[in-house]
Subunit: 288 residues, 2 copies
């Protein structure tokens, strides 16, 4: 396809386009986004670009994954800039449905997971992973991808999507894209846009805490509570930083780990002056 990016706004047109691509024997890669694209999204697009013949990105701020007191209305949006960025990554099709097109009047069907959401972000955002699983199921039925790319920055989301794909027998391969960081180490996020310069050091404390923990685990410390205490201290020294959770857990089940004998996920969520930031790293004993 190439330079002429195609924008599709209805479900029916996207399904017909996907059918045509598949009938031509071509493979579809898909990067779902909520727009306000940053370097993290673009890295997922580059992975998708390599993985298939036709690259589809979606831009849709999904109301179903926001709780009543969350930032659905104020979530940053810049559609024209997003389109330009998609063009820069040679996206073939941008799927940009409107809300009524995806959630009609009598809407009532949700994809729910029993266990993975009962950890980390799921505890403070009870509707989040149902909203994510539901919209990804919908988008997969519309875009019909052979492969889809999700960022490791949203580690729990990646696990939820992989579990849903396996459990519901979706015929789509899930590829994980590494977390992209700004020069100072802050994980890329559309919500970084909410931060002022003053709040930057507190925002960077998530990355500081991860590095403190990484070094301790690499250095042979196996007591998770000791690591957690040191990591928390790296954050709480900033009065504007409020820890939502800071967890050392199994990278597959997300169950807490007390004694570290193998790879361990450290995942954390911190509110910095009201902006909720998340970050994570898989820590390896004996590896810097």
């Amino acid at each position: 396809m190439g330079d002429l990016i195609k924008v599709i706004e209805t479900t029916e047109q996207m399904q017909q386009a996907a059918d045509r691509i598949r009938q031509d024997g071509k493979r579809i890669a898909f990067v779902p986004t909520m727009g306000f694209l940053h370097a993290g999204h673009l890295s997922l697009m580059r992975i998708g670009r390599q993985a298939a013949d036709v690259l589809v990105a979606s831009i849709f701020v999904n109301p179903a994954q926001f709780g009543p007191n969350e930032d659905f209305e104020t979530y940053p949006r810049d559609y024209d800039r997003d389109l330009d960025l998609c063009r820069s990554q040679k996206v073939d099709i941008v799927f940009a449905p409107d809300r009524e097109n995806l959630y009609g009047r009598a809407y009532q069907t949700y994809v729910r997971l029993d266990r993975l959401p009962d950890h980390l972000c799921g505890l403070s955002r009870p509707v989040f992973f149902t909203g994510v699983a539901t919209v990804v199921a919908k988008l997969f039925h519309i875009v019909k991808p052979h492969v889809a790319v999700f960022g490791q920055k949203d580690f729990q989301q990646l696990l939820v999507i992989r579990q849903m794909v396996r459990d519901l027998n979706f015929d789509t391969e899930i590829i994980a894209g590494p977390t992209v960081r700004e020069a100072d180490g802050l994980a890329m996020s559309s919500r970084n846009n909410y931060l002022t310069e003053d709040q930057r050091p507190a925002a960077l404390s998530l990355y500081d805490a991860l590095n403190v923990a990484r070094k301790m685990v690499a250095g042979g410390i196996t007591d998770a509570s000791r690591i957690r205490a040191r990591a928390e201290a790296a954050i709480t020294k900033y009065p504007e930083a409020e820890i939502d959770y800071l967890s050392l857990c199994d990278p597959e089940t997300l169950n807490d780990i007390d004694h570290i004998t193998g790879p361990v996920l450290m995942a954390l969520a911190v509110k910095v002056a009201g902006t909720r930031l998340i970050d994570n790293m898989v820590l390896q004993p004996g590896h810097e």
Copy 2:
């Protein structure tokens, strides 16, 4: 394809077969069943046979739609006879997975509807429609049908599937097949196999009750409670018949209707000596 029926037992092989059929530009019709086939299933297969190029039937007794005190273990099974019956309807592919193939060890993903299950069968079978919606979503991802055929005898199930397809943007057309009855009027069901000759008159009372109501609505009676009372009397005269529900309701939302001004669904479930039977009819004012 034709006389040589193909049996597929794994998800991966069925998905590959579906991809090949679709790449050839052919359309797939799908009839999901729990086996122990009867004339009702065969009529759905004839509808499917007409609707597409390749006809796929599945045989799978879905554990997720049975409650803990229901008849999953004793549900009748006769695989060889089922295969012969599929052959008789020129089914091209029988998909017959085993339980481990569809519900693995850490299984945890379910498709749930918010409102339609809170009526009729959903009240006494709380997991039933989640189990049905989940397995149909799974089977649709495996068989990749253009059209799928469901019987009107399971009217609420048909509504649930249609709602799920619409809400989750499945690109599959749902066709309803009319209820097939035995010569005496009993709606075809695999569970009819549980009935003894002695229990037959009580089993037929469901059809009697529907006909009583049909005539009253056709005759201009609009008071649902009067109709319900007469219909119930047609059943309760058999001491071995125990009504689970008998409802006059909106054929789209399943909300109760008190005053009949248009088409009304009469749906009922009755236990006859322990065997749970269901039946329904859409009644039309002014039409016999």
